[in-house]
């Protein structure tokens, strides 16, 4: 027997932990059709029952006001899963039952997983599960997700109730509301097409002014004025009674909930003591301390990233130098050995040296996220972000951009307002990702030894400043208006589990590895091939040399020669390639970057090198980022705008650096 199950619940109730517990490795991640909200599916077996689980987005209610809620609601209505597991935070029952009540209204076959029972006990709640089951009219299974308690019982319950017929709910609202609901329901029942839905639910939604439901029912009823006049009369009467039906419905649901909770839940110690989270928040979200602490934490993250990664990077460097030598000595014919050793191994070596850095960066960001701190960062940065016409939530993707812009742009999905989200996506490539670091490190070491750290840091600052200016500009020109209202739950602080942090790191880091394996290797082979046709000719006379000379005039005002032009051209594939291709172009066989120092010093001045670093920071995002922008905005137009504005901005900024530098006499 196959049982189809949907998993639903508020954010921060441990839904993904339960999903992982149930499905283990049998997961499939995709997108909901037509939207960029992630869809996770998985399955598990219980006795002879195969349970197919779809993880719905974390939501607070089933209105039509957000994509997430619509997805969840449409899935339950249209796909009619056999069972809907509603995960409820046992330590915060009242707020969570608001969604439960709406699921019951909808007529879904609900099983409640009463999660975080350990926390509920800690908060000295005594929950009478039997009584709660009776009052709500749905089965309840107590669980503690991180300890995997209650998982078998949950599967067992799902299997037993899967094929039962859902009986009409006994939960009733006050008589005035119920009167109106049954009047509307009886009007609707004259349309046979509507029979497949729960009439009571449709009636409630119509009274609540739900746009989607009203549009649908109007279509079915062919907008019959007699019917809608009657409905409008009922609504008007309610509005006269309660002021606003929407508020009255919400109020009544909480009313019912508090009656249920008062019968089934007891709290032994009544007085709220100051929780650890409140104590930590007292410091971390402080008006004056918040931002300095945040900067200190970020500085620590950078230090940690580079210190821990350094020995790994050295090992990778040595490994590639060694294998390149091996390839050169043993492979035949000569051109093939050159392709493998100089083209692929050395080039890939240049790039993979940064894998430890990137993984460490993602590890640090995952720890910040899982501990609950990232939500606080959104809080403390909200005031500053507000001045830019964005709100605090936009800051999190910006921060993730320091790791890689691809997952950072994907993280903008949590921003509900479309305009806010587009601005955040468009400026995100200006946050200096780790792929640009190799370029900075190389040029800073060649031209600015002694102040290399400061010079590299200035690139990050430049990126942030430009992102701020561009965000302001976009808000003023393309997306006039104010940022949308901002409301977000702050999860309690938690010590992150190793498993979840590592899996987050791997999920994001492996995207980089995939990029290295595809775009970067492909690009390097292309560069190698172009620099070797005709084979044996000096680099200047090969295809790549010709391309370089073609592009060189564009970059001449900036003081860069044809080699830099080519390197930048291929850097479009992935910015790491800039360094890798310079190695190829200067004919350096050893991936040790110090061998590039001499030729580079001869080719440009510190000023033009600094301009080049800035140019690399700003100009076209890499192919993978562009593809992500296209995927997330669903629009070629915005992708092209991102591409164009960054090219222009990069050139202008580099030119300004050169001009100001020469004016004040720096060369």
């Amino acid at each position: 027997m196959i049982v189809r199950v949907a998993l639903v619940g508020n954010p921060n109730v441990g839904k993904s932990v339960i999903f992982n517990n149930l499905t283990g490795a049998h997961q499939y991640v995709g997108n909901w059709p037509g939207v960029t909200v992630e869809k996770k599916e998985g399955k598990c077996n219980f006795d002879d029952v195969e349970i197919h689980i779809t993880d719905l987005p974390g939501i607070y209610s089933l209105t039509a006001n957000s994509i997430d809620e619509l997805i969840a609601r449409n899935f339950i209505i249209e796909e009619k899963p056999d069972v809907v597991i509603d995960i409820v935070d046992g330590s915060n029952i009242e707020r969570n039952l608001y969604l439960t009540l709406q699921l019951i209204e909808l007529g879904a076959n609900v099983v409640v997983a009463l999660n975080m029972m350990d926390l509920a006990k800690e908060k000295s709640y005594e929950i009478d599960i039997k009584r709660l089951e009776e009052l709500l009219g749905v089965p309840i299974v107590p669980t503690v997700a991180p300890k995997k308690e209650g998982m078998t019982e949950l599967c067992e319950k799902v299997a037993t109730v899967a094929k039962r017929k859902v009986s009409a709910t006994k939960i009733r609202y006050n008589s005035k509301l119920e009167d109106a609901i049954s009047k509307v329901a009886s009007i609707l029942s004259s349309y046979p097409t509507l029979q497949k839905y729960n009439m009571r639910w449709l009636a409630i939604k119509i009274l609540e002014d739900d746009g989607e439901v009203i549009r649908y029912v109007k279509e079915i009823s062919e907008n019959d004025p007699v019917v809608w006049d009657k409905i409008e009369d009922i609504k008007a009467e309610l509005n006269k009674e309660f002021g606003d039906v929407i508020v009255a419905m919400a109020d009544e649901r909480y009313n019912v909930i508090s009656q249920i909770v008062s019968k089934a839940v007891k709290r032994i110690t009544a007085e709220e003591e100051v929780s650890i989270t409140d104590m930590i928040d007292e410091v971390l979200t402080h008006k004056y301390l918040g931002i300095p602490i945040f900067l200190a934490i970020m500085w620590t993250v950078f230090q940690f990233t580079f210190t821990v990664a350094a020995p790994f990077s050295d090992a990778i460097d040595m490994f590639f130098a060694y294998t390149a030598d091996l390839a050169r000595s043993y492979l035949q014919p000569e051109w093939f050995a050159s392709l493998i050793a100089d083209g692929i191994i050395s080039g890939l070596g240049f790039v993979l040296i940064f894998v430890p850095n990137i993984f460490m960066m993602f590890l640090a960001l995952s720890i910040l996220e899982d501990s609950g701190y990232l939500a606080r960062v959104a809080f403390i940065m909200d005031r500053i972000m507000h001045k830019l016409g964005l709100h605090g939530r936009s800051f999190i993707p910006m921060l993730l951009g320091f790791g890689c812009n691809v997952p950072a742009i994907m993280a903008t999905r949590t921003i509900e307002n479309e305009n806010d989200r587009l601005i955040t996506i468009l400026v995100n490539p200006l946050m200096s990702c780790s792929a640009r670091l190799p370029v900075y490190v190389l040029f800073a070491a060649v031209f600015f030894s002694g102040i290399a750290g400061t010079v590299i840091f200035s690139m990050y600052v430049l990126g942030i400043v430009l992102a701020i200016l561009m965000a302001l500009l976009f808000r003023k020109t393309l997306f006039p208006g104010k940022p949308s209202p901002f409301i977000m739950e702050m999860p309690p602080y938690l010590i992150p589990t190793a498993r979840s942090v590592l899996s987050h790191m791997w999920l994001r880091g492996s995207k980089f590895l995939k990029k290295a394996g595809t775009f970067i290797v492909g690009g390097l082979i292309l560069i190698w091939a172009m620099s070797n046709v005709p084979y044996g000719a000096p680099v200047e006379e090969t295809l790549i040399g010709q391309l370089g000379h073609l592009l060189a005039p564009i970059f001449a005002p900036l003081g860069w020669d044809w080699r830099i032009a080519v390197a930048l051209f291929f850097g479009f594939i992935a910015k790491e390639i800039v360094v890798g291709s310079l190695g190829v172009l200067y004919g350096i066989e050893n991936p040790d970057p110090t061998t590039l120092y001499g030729p580079l010093r001869a080719a440009m001045t510190p000023l033009s090198a600094y301009a080049l670093m800035a140019f690399t920071l700003i100009y076209v995002p890499c192919i993978a980022t562009l593809a992500t922008i296209k995927q997330e905005t669903g629009s070629i137009k915005w992708t092209l705008i991102a591409l164009a504005y960054e090219l222009i901005l990069a050139y202008v900024v580099a030119l300004i650096i050169i001009s100001i530098g020469s004016l004040v006499g720096i060369v």
Binding site: A250, P485, I487
Partner: protein, 84 residues
């Protein structure tokens, strides 16, 4: 006639530590605004505690045991009465 304890004000003006009862939402609040807030436990009649309010920044309020961050603009549109 205004009774001292019954002054209605936007929650954005409430000092930290105060417990307030929500009275109403601003007239220009749309359906989405009201439903979003209600679903997170903020509805007329609900009692919440202001944990953080550092003008003119965002607020953190305690709603039925969870912490919820409210942007300043949003907080301006929620009218409350201080109860202690």
């Amino acid at each position: 006639m205004i009774v001292r304890e019954a002054i209605v004000m936007p929650v954005s003006m409430v000092p930290e530590g105060a417990v307030v009862e929500i009275v109403s939402f601003s007239q220009r609040s749309g359906r989405g605004f009201i439903q979003k807030l209600s679903s997170m436990g903020i509805y007329p009649g609900a009692v919440i505690r202001v944990l953080r309010n550092q003008f003119p920044g965002p607020l953190i309020v305690d709603v039925m045991g969870t912490r919820i961050m409210l942007g300043h603009g949003m907080a301006n549109r929620i009218y409350v009465r201080i109860i202690r």
